[in-house]
Symmetry: D2
Subunit: 345 residues, 4 copies
């Protein structure tokens, strides 16, 4: 009788809202993995969480957690500024890592990560652009890949949040919200972004003082395709993500809020809008985790410890957002310069 499958032992670095969500997913949803180590800059928080999970330890030093021989792989949900050092540790110890965006918080360190991983000759880093695992986005990608729309020409995106936490500023709209559409555009169009322009409309009176909201971003790709993105993070309505690709022979649209449709005694019909991204993309997060666990388990054989967007995708998205922030200030179209542009993706 063969031995039963051994679960992948994962360290989760950072157990704030997103990290705790990943811990729960790994423990209760994802097959073939378990949380072996948790770490947080608040040690008591990590210890408390570890106590609720069979076979899980809290480790105070994130680098020690990554290096731990009882850890097969890492989920990085720590604050962005810690990512560079922690990613380098993952590369040093050849630990596969699922890194929440951003890859790092500036382009130099992001590029450093890309170079070092390339030097190892093995994909160890996956970036958490989970929309690539969403059913609707996958259907859209499949329609494009099958040539059903001809070559894509234009893309229209809408990215709306109900509200944002205090302290959310205009550049964060670009770096934390737009970055998803940047990755979606690169994923769907299979091209890099070469320039970006941010338009500043009259602001929503309901937005916090100083926040430029809404914004319109206009992206241009290598071969001259254009993407426009409405960014509106204080709609007061709900979380709404919509993407339409217009191609040479047709167009395709995802993200209209449908599902349960109700007719009510006020003479209205309609449905509900997801309150936030977790409601909308729960299944995508689950799929992402499961596929990453599977890729990691197969990595020794395939030499590839990721099944999704890699470090380059994280870097490229960051570069576009950096130009976006420049455009936000200058009011002009800003070019995106990608180092290592010929790096095989």
């Amino acid at each position: 009788m063969t031995a039963p499958k051994a679960d992948l032992r994962v360290a989760v670095i950072g157990v704030g809202v997103m990290g705790a969500d990943h811990v729960a997913r790994l423990s209760a949803t994802t097959s073939g993995a378990r949380v072996a180590v948790v770490n947080d800059h608040l040690p008591a928080k990590a210890a408390q969480l570890a106590a609720t999970i069979p076979g899980c330890r809290a480790v105070e030093d994130p680098l020690a957690a990554i290096a731990d021989p009882g850890v097969d792989a890492v989920v990085l949900a720590s604050p962005g500024p810690a990512h560079h050092e922690q990613l380098l540790a993952c590369l040093q110890h050849r630990k596969p890592v699922l890194c929440e965006k951003p890859l790092t918080t500036d382009l130099d360190t992001a590029l450093d990560v890309v170079r070092r991983e390339a030097a190892l000759g093995v994909r160890l880093i996956q970036v958490g652009f989970m929309r690539r695992f969403d059913d609707e986005y996958r259907q859209l990608k499949a329609a494009l890949d099958a040539g059903e729309l001809g070559r894509p020409l234009l893309m229209h995106c809408v990215h709306r949040n109900r509200d944002v936490h205090a302290g959310f500023d205009s550049a964060m709209v670009v770096r934390d919200s737009l970055v998803h559409e940047v990755d979606v555009a690169r994923f769907l169009l299979d091209e890099e972004i070469t320039s970006i322009q941010i338009v500043r409309p009259a602001t929503n009176p309901g937005a916090p003082a100083g926040l430029q909201d809404p914004q319109i971003a206009i992206l241009r790709t290598t071969s001259g395709r254009y993407v426009d993105v409405e960014l509106f993070v204080t709609t007061g309505v709900g979380y709404e993500v919509r993407t339409e690709v217009v191609g040479e022979r047709g167009s395709a649209l995802i993200g209209l809020a449908v599902g349960l449709v109700r007719k009510s005694a006020d003479g209205r019909w309609g449905g509900g809008i997801a309150a936030d991204f977790r409601a909308r993309f729960r299944a995508a997060y689950d799929t992402q985790m499961q596929r990453w666990v599977d890729a990691v388990a197969a990595g020794a054989r395939t030499g590839d410890y990721a099944d999704g967007p890699g470090a380059w995708d994280g870097y490229a998205a960051a570069a576009v957002c950096a130009a976006g922030v420049r455009s936000l200030e200058s009011g002009r179209t800003e070019s995106v310069e990608l180092a290592l542009r010929d790096t095989p993706e």
Copy 2:
């Protein structure tokens, strides 16, 4: 016993595709009006048409047709270059006129028309922006006027045609297609447009050589609201007009092709897309005509011979499109300068 109502006697100037459509509508659909005179630069065509309509004469000179004492009102469906002289004739003889767009073909003559009508102190000119009579646009306008969305912040428009006739050039996309969204934006947002930028994406290989298609137009209004418009006139798909307004407290969307929904044996569900604007906006054309006829009939009493967009609306739209054509060339954002900006609208 009172005498039955007397029908309004209309002269239709220009009986090409659009003019003939108006003749048919006035004869068979519109109550309270009849076609008394037709004119065309091909006199045989006008004569042939007149012979099919009881009580209708063909008149060879358009200015004579307008001046004819047996004509109460005029529908102008002649080529754009003829409009200036014919509109002046209508003003001179105080004949109410429903003028197909464009008002005239350049800004100086358009402004001249606006000034002369203003000097008469009576609205005689209505421009054929028939979308203002479309049920969905009216619902959208009503939702805005009722404050249901709060103040509007952004507007997204899509304007797609299946194909265009030979000779359709890049500036015509701006002047003949975009002009409708320009009027819709002014109508819905109740503000003038102050600048315009035309983005030139990679062109559709199915478009005629030299035609910049698709285009993206970005309009800014007086108070800083923004409107983006996809213009794509060679989609090969169908006629699709969509408008979404995003406001401070919600958004509203019209123009999703719905109606009859079919499930078919190829495992697909869906419906049909209107082949052209006549299929999509037939009822709007009918409503426009009927309301204009009614306004004309009531004009002697009210001093207003129009119930819809006037000469100023035609001029303002033309001014925006002229700036759009400049942006198409320059690649820069171009300002829109409106003369008489303080003219009461």
Copy 3:
């Protein structure tokens, strides 16, 4: 110069809500017709209305109004019990008549009308089943006629009202509401109904005492196709009419409330539901009137003074509803026996 077209002179018998609506439509919307005579069992009401319409007289006796040499055609909007005598008057004077449903209030008189019109050898009677002129129903009929669904097998209908006037009883649900679906079924399936069963679910507590609401009707056609109909007249929600045809090679659905779609700050998306049948079917009423006016005007040439459902359609629908009322009592499936079944339709 030819004389201008002469408008059709119409007598409207009965100027309650529906009749007054027809008077307004004929006066302001329908081209080629005018209201020459109005009649009502409340003479003052008719006189008052006539005074507002140029060239219109009130006539106290409905039969005199029908016989009047200044009347070319008749719109019958009087109470159902008066229809038999008034229809016979129309036939006697060979006046084309657009008769609001019901044709008459019992099967014997309905059949009498059918026989007498057949004896004249000319179609003079049109019944006001205006859904046949509705765009969505016409699209559905066209899809069926083109064989796009194969032969139809099943039909599902929903007929919902917000509320009904006091005194509306269970049999009226069958005779006044279901009758429309009966005609739609006969129109779309091109077959007669051979049996009907009315199912009596638990009643809506919001319905007036004694009213069986909702009801489910199950109709069987000559060749064994089935139609189920939800009838629910006190929904408190709005007017909702939906029809789905399921065929051998696909299905098609009309009547989902779409149009303007709004996203609002309560996290909901959706649209409005028509409050009543006039909002939903206004255009159908207009089209019906215009096509009937045109048919009447052409009748002397074609020998057919109707362009729509005729007396037989009114009789057949009444026969089905009579069986429905029997089923409502008996709880059993009741057969529909049509006299003159081989009358050419």
Copy 4:
């Protein structure tokens, strides 16, 4: 350091299409469980499958597999006729069991299972009505439970398949297809079904000879609510499941095929329809499995080894279907008699 969580050791009895699907799900998707034993009436098939799964054995005798001390819980995907004996074995050994429908193949044995489980005083049996785990059905149930529609009055269901395997007969439409709507009706309305009538429309020429397809089922519940169900298993179109509940204060609808919407060069818009139930309900199957695994793991503490429909639900559905098969023959409404009706649910 605590020991890591121990996975639940599951025996899967029957590894045909559905059983193999469950094996794959338990192995790759479901967290906290692993397949320890497989069994099939084709021993080679089970052995071959076991060889691909770490720690999994094939056991030739299904009763031995159930009794095996290395098995904590059982998934029953064997043919229906084997269920009775295998379920009794599960009860005897107190092994929690997820039993694919039908519970058993006749009412006497189903009731026997219900009685014996009740005698044990612990819920060990869960029946595989996975729709109860589907997001849309859960939303619908939640809307009902929250009273958003008032009390439900009517329910309309559509159950369409693209095609069926050879040998599928008229009674199987009732037992294998309708059974899902029976459970959905009981789940959503929280009442038992008291009578059923099967209507036999003209059959689809594309259906195999002898198969009554489509069928319409009309169910009545204890308190007189009605459910109509279209059953059409040879549509040639796709898998389509739709449910609408009409309540005292509104209605709610799920199952319109939406998602990716495409506009294409044939002038059509729309989306795809799931080809079969696995595409449509994959997530529901996953959720069902995970929740059952969790319930089983917690069972020693809670005394309840199921988190979903139990044996009574399987019995009740079978009783309704048996009456349905009688109605299919008799053409009459047939009563549903439930034994043990007062058994606590």
